[in-house]
Symmetry: C2
Subunit: 458 residues, 2 copies
Amino acid sequence: MEMECDEKVRVGKRMSLWMKGLFAKLVEIGNETKALWKDDPRRVIHALKLGLTLTIVSLLYYYRPLYDNFGVSAMWAVMTVVVVFEFSVGATVGKGLNRAFATLFAGGLGAGAHHLAALSGRVGQPIITSIFVFLIACTLTFMRFFPSIKAKYDYGMMISILSFSFVSISGLRDDEIFLLLQKRVSTIFLGVCVCLIISISISPFWAGQDLHNRIALNIEYLALFFEGYGSEYFKTLQDREANKDENFSQSYKSILKSSGIEDTLYNFARWEPGHGCFQFRHPWKQYLKIGALTYQCAFRVDALHRNLSSNFQLSQEIRAEIQEPCMEMSMESGKTLRKLVSSIREMNQPTQAEIHIHNSKAAAKKLKASLKSSRMWENCDLLTLIPAATIGSLLIDVVDCTEKIAEAVQELASLAHFKSAKPGVVSLVKSEAAVQSGKEKVQPNIGLPFVTIPISTG
Amino acid sequence: MEMECDEKVRVGKRMSLWMKGLFAKLVEIGNETKALWKDDPRRVIHALKLGLTLTIVSLLYYYRPLYDNFGVSAMWAVMTVVVVFEFSVGATVGKGLNRAFATLFAGGLGAGAHHLAALSGRVGQPIITSIFVFLIACTLTFMRFFPSIKAKYDYGMMISILSFSFVSISGLRDDEIFLLLQKRVSTIFLGVCVCLIISISISPFWAGQDLHNRIALNIEYLALFFEGYGSEYFKTLQDREANKDENFSQSYKSILKSSGIEDTLYNFARWEPGHGCFQFRHPWKQYLKIGALTYQCAFRVDALHRNLSSNFQLSQEIRAEIQEPCMEMSMESGKTLRKLVSSIREMNQPTQAEIHIHNSKAAAKKLKASLKSSRMWENCDLLTLIPAATIGSLLIDVVDCTEKIAEAVQELASLAHFKSAKPGVVSLVKSEAAVQSGKEKVQPNIGLPFVTIPISTG
């Protein structure tokens, strides 16, 4: 009796432990779901859209006239929705068109192959068909390795192998094959059409818009860093410890982490029709160029950040000498990038950035002059000078990087016909002319050897 | 008559132009094919393997007893092959198991849903089924966004939605549904099995082996750079122009370009059974850690390389002072990495690397002392000193990076139970002890502020 009681207690304990574990797991999943949702609420909308599309297409099965027409083939439409409906419009269009046209062409080819094989009699047919299937499968599989095909038509190649095998092997009579092919192609087209309509008409997510936003955001992360860097760097060590501002110095890392995403978005954006401010043949490729430059700039930012987190203190003399130009270079680079961001976001010509590029170049010139003057390093240890020189050279590099980004954005602006800037704003040509003629002429390369790319006035 | 002749000539010219264009295009495609083949001959073998598998499975259609058993459902096996057969064994296993088990479970669930819906009568059934389909599709689609699910079960989720819809909508009687489900599951299992057998038995391509080789190759690229860097850097400018050795300095770039590939290979490798020297639960994750460290080291290499390509000349005094320790640091880091590569390739304990780490640290200490001594920078321009200091600090950083890579490889060696090294070789503990006790004790951090990570003896 007592033992039974013990047993019950033990089972009860185990049950309660198990329930607690389950509850903790559920809470964890709940939190993760909430985080995913908050991070990008479009995920939930996408899930609802797919559910809706699938439900609509499944009605084909219930609606008598349609079922009578398509029969069991209506299932192909359901499958098409599950396979084709992707997050962005571009991905859906790409997969949908690939699936539809690959089915049409490869299915037709399969029907032809079947007809040819049938001519060789009952014994020859399986052999001939097998040879055809083998050859087509090998060729198309190898073709999937071509980079240009992989980027745009990978799915189409797979569906081609599938459709060719499906039709050529099916072993039906010729007229039945054409009926099968017709049903398959029409249900797949139907599925693709429903996907495209829902994807575009209900809260569409454009890969092109995402690419556009992402590039702007990445530049903004850099701007954020440079705006905060100067003042953070020249804080005293105590100040820095006291008010640790990790925010400005962390966001740039996401640029380094996600360099492949832009390529993916680009591949999807190419499939998208015109939408919002983007025309059909928007110069998406230019975004990749800007992205690559941003990535290179983020390398420099990483080096600057590593300097920031090392514990060291500038001597008073050096600080007095370099603080002003360094802070100005950082701040003006930040402002340049900030202007570029708003130019991209509002799709304006980036003329406002020019004045800040000019200023940052002037500051770079000033810093180089300081580094050259012997006054600064007469009374101090080389080891205390090197960090200042390193920061200086990195910032000079950054000024150059920033200018290149500005040029790439300018190129984008002219390729995509961005609106011209409001009157009254300093124009690109004017500010360049000022640099060329005025006292502030920046020398091409004073001789810092680790500034690989000369800072020219052009 | 003449006009007709003119017309003929024009058509002939156009034809010949067209033919020339076609021929040029064909030659181009031929060259690209050859390049793809030469770059990795396994691509051709993969294509042939897929063709063979597809042909074998298509025989199901021709072999009477099998066809009588499976009927038209045999087509599912063909489709499975096309969709599941991937380049590496890991990818094929992952997709195959996802497809097979997702079909089994979601199909079963769909049958249950169908049974429940059927209870509510002819009018209620479509409504209830639609609600089920909508809910399942939404839930599973959202679940695909969870990173842990996306990495391993993304395809399974998609197939689950597909199978659930397929079975629940199909509108058949209960007993027919179970027959359908049984046929579908068994043909898909059959397809997956054939894929796995061919993938593993004929010239298998293991993602794990690829990951292992790739990590070793990346470290070798770094070793190649450091082995060449020292002597290249201290060449006179004329010498450097004359014998430009681009080989050693270019290969590291492929590390920076392809950082996502390791993650993909890792996700595949986790699916693979034991093969060759790798057991089932080989510590694949450790390769990602080594890969990340290699990537960070490649950043430094990039900075060193940019210095190399800038045109400048070290003054004679500075050269005399820093050449020896810099060359030694570079060379010893190269040797360390070279030993690590052979340790990974031969799956030995990396004890031989320790002595070179010790040497490179000693050289780093020597360089720091040089930079600290005032003798060196009494008579020269700061601008000529900075490059030397930059190189020095980068190389000190590299020594630290190399040590971290060595530690990570050591960790891999113990996790994966690599063979212990041959006797007679300096052991890890011994060499560490020498550093700790002897004159050569390396100070933790002499104060170069841009060497973020202190070089400790630990």
